[in-house]
């Protein structure tokens, strides 16, 4: 059903800390590894070790330079489906393959009914959906729906693969509809924000801002000194030191 649920029981999503992310791509790699064997058909992977690799990935890590006055900062920026509350990627779908779950708000594609018309990818402002040319269906982040409720894996693994993989703790998973949840508290404390809030799809995923060094901190003074040859060596060393000084003056 491609009409949106009026409310969802939970609003499961990710909180991504741009102050901690080091752009290592571990989350993207782990996502690909899990999801190529998971919920949908395998994620296409063409010429992976060759000159022209391509394929479907559900998480992409950009690195941006943010320039402000004399200081610029590198911000690593993971981008995946934000499981929006009011996304047209769901309502434009002609088959009902693209849907938002009423229970937890996860936005999914049913790989058995998708006809691969690609219209949903056109409706997503975040470029979060990638078409799989091998399966002829659309692929997107599933919030690892086949991990988070999966009782056959150890409890500590019941989080999205990207969250489990992140070495810096830049990714957190939880219910953003519950103001008392750990993720909501963190968003509150750090001033978490929506991507392209102006567009109005109401993303569930939140981003925490990177911190900047203070612009008025004086740059440390570095006094450059000419290296000096040691003075109290043997006669031969003194001779070389004298030649060195004589030649360089």
């Amino acid at each position: 059903m491609t009409t949106l649920p009026e409310t969802t029981g939970k609003k499961l999503g990710l909180v991504i800390d741009l102050d901690k992310c080091v752009g290592c791509h571990a989350c993207a790699t782990s996502c690909k590894e899990w999801n190529t064997g998971g919920y949908s058909a395998p994620l296409s992977d063409h010429d992976p070790y060759g000159a022209d690799p391509s394929g479907a990935w559900l998480n992409r890590i950009h690195s941006y330079e943010v320039e402000s006055g004399p200081i610029s900062k590198t911000v690593h920026f993971p981008r995946s489906c934000l499981h929006c509350e009011e996304p047209a990627c769901v309502t434009v779908c002609p088959t009902g393959a693209s849907y938002k779950r009423e229970a937890d708000g996860i936005v999914l594609v049913n790989p058995d009914t998708c006809i691969g018309c690609k219209l949903c990818s056109w409706a997503c402002p975040y470029g979060a959906r990638e078409y799989d040319h091998d399966d002829g269906v659309m692929k997107k982040c599933t919030l690892c729906v086949d991990r988070i409720y999966n009782e056959t894996i150890p409890e500590e693994d019941r989080v999205p693969a990207c969250v489990r993989a992140c070495p810096t703790g830049a990714r957190a998973f939880g219910d953003l509809g519950d103001p008392d949840s750990e993720v909501s508290q963190e968003v509150e404390a750090r001033g978490g924000f929506n991507l392209l809030d102006e567009f109005g799809y109401k993303p569930v995923n939140k981003y925490l801002p990177p911190r900047f060094a203070k612009v008025d901190t004086p740059a440390p003074q570095i006094v450059e000194k000419e290296p000096v040859a040691p003075q109290n060596g043997s006669a031969v060393e003194k001779l070389f030191a004298w030649v060195d000084r004589a030649l360089s003056s």
Binding site: V66, R79, P94, C114, E130, G136
Partner: protein, 304 residues
Amino acid sequence: MHPAYSVILFTTASGAGYGLLFWLGLGHLTGLIHGAGWMPVITLTVALGLITLGLLSSAFHLGRPERALGAFSQWRSSWLSREGVVAVATYVPAGLWWLLWLFGNGSVTPFLGLLAAIGAAVTVYCTGMIYASLRTIRQWNRPTVPWIYIALAAGTGGLLLALLLPSTFAALAALISLGAAAVLKLAYWKEIDADPGQYTAEMATGLGHLGTVRPLDPPHSTPNFVMREMGYAVARNHALKLRKVALLALFALPLFLIFIGMFAGWLALVPAVLLAAVGVVTERWLFFAEAEHVSQLYYGKARA
């Protein structure tokens, strides 16, 4: 946006087919077109043939054409689904009408013609709305877009009618709708040229309060689906040249040739139809190539 040839062929061929069906239905309803002789039923066959060719071509655009039946289910929310439903519904009166003309029984055909004409207009409107409803692409998300689709379908269909069943009615139908399409299209180009886009890379990343944002390291070493599908761009000067081609081949020359045809006979309509075919394919190609998608803000576009 990437101009996929299957979608260009679909929208132009089925557009002309629906336009022809529309005028044929209207002409028959008002008593200006009669079923006598072979030409009317051949014209109706051409209309249905173009529509079917277009629909088949759109099915080739799908990754899973064998599941296409599912696309009729979500008409409550999806313009693409609505288009499919109305397109199939239009086959019912149009097909009956075709059979009745083929076997020479004409008492209810004007009513079937009316139903087919309504179906044709609504289908083309739905096609236009698929694009016009996408807020991610400012060149498409405009009230003029569905009307351009309708006017161009009526114009190209009217030209075909003037070629196959020449009459003052057909010539006027083609003249008026092509003229309207020309006015709408010129206004459209002016509109999109004046709109720089309201979203920025700073909004897309949410980092605007920290400074200006530019890409440093790309997320992947070769273009992915999002870049290939949504990042297709045509050089500005190239686009301006193609706009001129479209203006000449789709509007100026055919309009002139319809005038000539009113006096010199239907032969003048042959080059008019061929030119309009080139023109409308160019127009449709540009409709895609000039469209910019908001997702490209993540890939180095400053505004969209």
